[in-house]
């Protein structure tokens, strides 16, 4: 993908992120995710019904990479079963960590396929995934 297009997609998701809103609904599970080495701090809210992710919202303060990555992750995970979501997350992590991955299922998230070149930004792209995994791994 062209560099400028990647930047545009990230910027669009940063300036107008999907589902960035406060949630006061106890059918959502909440998790906080933050980076020790920087100042990103996000709350992620997840609604699961019958093993399917029905909705995800988030709130907080984070950099352009973290915020756009969260927005793109939300677009891709809503509607997926927990199993599908975990598969998607593993693929994304593999891409960021320069391992083998299936680019077909990542959709827009492949804009981060060269984030490994900026070592200090890798954790930004991964931030929402750290949070969402905490919920999915503990979900019975």
């Amino acid at each position: 993908m062209d560099e400028n297009l990647k930047r545009e997609i990230m910027l669009e998701n940063y300036m107008h992120p999907l589902n960035k809103e406060v949630v006061n609904d106890n059918t959502y599970i909440k998790v906080n995710t933050n980076n020790e080495s920087c100042i990103d701090n996000l709350d992620i809210y997840l609604k699961i019904e019958n093993n399917v992710i029905k909705d995800i919202k988030f709130m907080g303060e984070a950099c352009a990479i973290s915020t756009s990555s969260t927005s793109i992750m939300i677009k891709n995970l809503i509607g997926k079963t927990i199993k599908e979501a975990k598969e998607y997350i593993t693929n994304f992590e593999n891409m960021v960590e320069e391992k083998n991955y299936d680019s077909n299922i990542l959709n827009e998230a492949i804009v981060y396929n060269e984030i490994y070149k900026q070592n200090n930004r890798k954790h930004c792209a991964l931030l929402p995934y750290v949070g969402i995994k905490k919920i999915l791994d503990n979900y019975q």
Binding site: R7, M10, L11, M15, C38, I39, D40, E61, A62, C63, A64, I65, T67, R121
Partner: protein, 398 residues
């Protein structure tokens, strides 16, 4: 000024994170090496020539510190690992024994974590009460506001001399006068003031004072704990071991050394302390008044330019030191810092370890420019040039 003395400045960087740490001049670096190359022995062991030399050099720095802050006695100067260590020793070693349940300690919401968390810990352990002096519209501490929170239970006022986000100089002398009139103690975190202005602990009449060497051209891992002698005598060591005891035979028979050795257990950062002496001499040669004047002039120069940029929001329009906290409208502070980094500008983004400040200012994170003696007008020009074009920031921050 004096840019040729700083090897780091040859690396094509614009260093504007002096509130976090400062660059080191050659004389400090060379003094560190001198210790390791010429008299690398332990301190307080004067049995042979080079060991004696270490003692002389180490104690010489103590005397330089004493003069630098105009302390009355040399033994009022204790070397620690940094201001955090100093504050912890003061708060746990002295106030941990002195304070009782219900006693009140006044701090402010713009304090650094190291002047908040130890007090929180004492609040949990002893049941002391933490109170906050309200800040005025400029986020300053005023005597009038201090009077509003003082009660007959106030035992300590613990404040930064200059805060690390706002950069305001607190009226410590007046605060000490007020505190002492009600028999309360004053602890001063001088981490952001000692590097930039003349400090006279006798004139201020503060009871304790803490600062770090690395924020004033010195090495990392060295700090100063100042306390009035009669108070230090009652500061219980938080660290026990070699170098601080006279003798010990059983738990009932422990004899400790006099000040300052009693509070400096273990092998200290000898190279660091010795090299810190060079930093102090270097600063004195330039003159603290000249340093502060340079920073204030440069700050005004920067503010006058930044204020004209509509998308720049300056958090601390008023400030007495070289700190400018700002945000670019609609862009997360860390993204601005990443963008500036692409042009080799080192600025800090975040809450600057003053995490409870956000409750008061309503701004969680900012970019912070903190100026020191080696910064120049042309660096400020270049910074302003980079911040002028918001589209450019948005385009290049990723």
């Amino acid at each position: 000024m004096n840019r040729e003395d700083f090897p780091m400045l040859k690396n094509d960087i614009v260093y504007l994170d002096n509130g976090a740490t400062t660059l080191k001049p050659y004389c400090v670096i060379e003094k560190t090496t001198e210790y390791y190359e010429k008299y690398s022995a332990n301190a307080h062991r004067g049995d042979y020539d080079i060991s004696y030399k270490v003692d002389m050099e180490y104690e010489n720095t103590r005397d330089l510190v004493r003069k630098f802050i105009n302390a009355k006695h040399k033994e009022e100067i204790i070397f620690t690992s940094g201001a955090t260590d100093s504050l912890n020793k003061i708060i746990f070693g002295f106030f941990g024994k002195y304070l009782e349940e219900g006693d009140e300690v006044i701090i402010s919401i713009s304090e650094h974590a190291s002047n908040v968390l130890p007090w929180f810990k004492l609040a949990n352990e002893l049941g002391i009460v933490i109170k906050y002096v309200p800040l005025d519209d400029n986020l300053y501490v005023t005597i009038d506001n201090l009077k509003k929170v003082i009660t007959n239970k106030t035992k300590v006022i613990s404040l930064a001399h200059i805060t690390n986000v706002i950069g305001d100089v607190r009226p410590i002398k007046e605060i000490c006068k007020l505190a002492h009139s009600i028999d309360a103690f004053v602890v001063v975190d001088a981490s952001q003031s000692a590097p930039h202005m003349k400090i006279d602990v006798q004139d201020l009449d503060c009871d304790f004072l803490a600062f770090s060497a690395h924020k004033m051209l010195g090495p990392t891992g060295v700090g100063v704990l100042y306390g009035k002698k009669e108070l230090l005598e009652n500061l219980e060591p938080t660290t026990y071991g070699g170098g601080m005891n006279e003798s010990f035979d059983s738990p009932d028979e422990i004899y400790l050394k006099e000040l300052p050795a009693r509070l400096e257990a273990g092998t200290p950062n000898i190279a660091g302390v010795i090299a810190f002496g060079e930093a102090l001499k270097y600063l004195e040669n330039i003159g603290m008044d000249n340093i502060l004047a340079h920073e204030q002039k440069l700050r005004k120069y920067l503010i006058d330019k930044l204020i004209k940029i509509p998308h720049i929001d300056i958090i601390n329009l008023e400030s007495d030191s070289g700190i400018v906290a700002f945000n670019v409208d609609g862009i997360f502070s860390q993204d601005v810092a990443y963008y500036l980094n692409k042009y080799n500008f080192c600025v800090r983004a975040g809450s600057h370890c003053a995490k409870i400040l956000k409750k008061g200012v309503g701004v969680t994170n900012t970019c912070r420019v903190s100026i020191y003696l080696y910064n120049t007008e042309s660096e400020m020009d270049n910074l302003v040039e980079l911040l002028k074009d918001k589209e450019k920031i948005l385009k290049e921050m990723l």
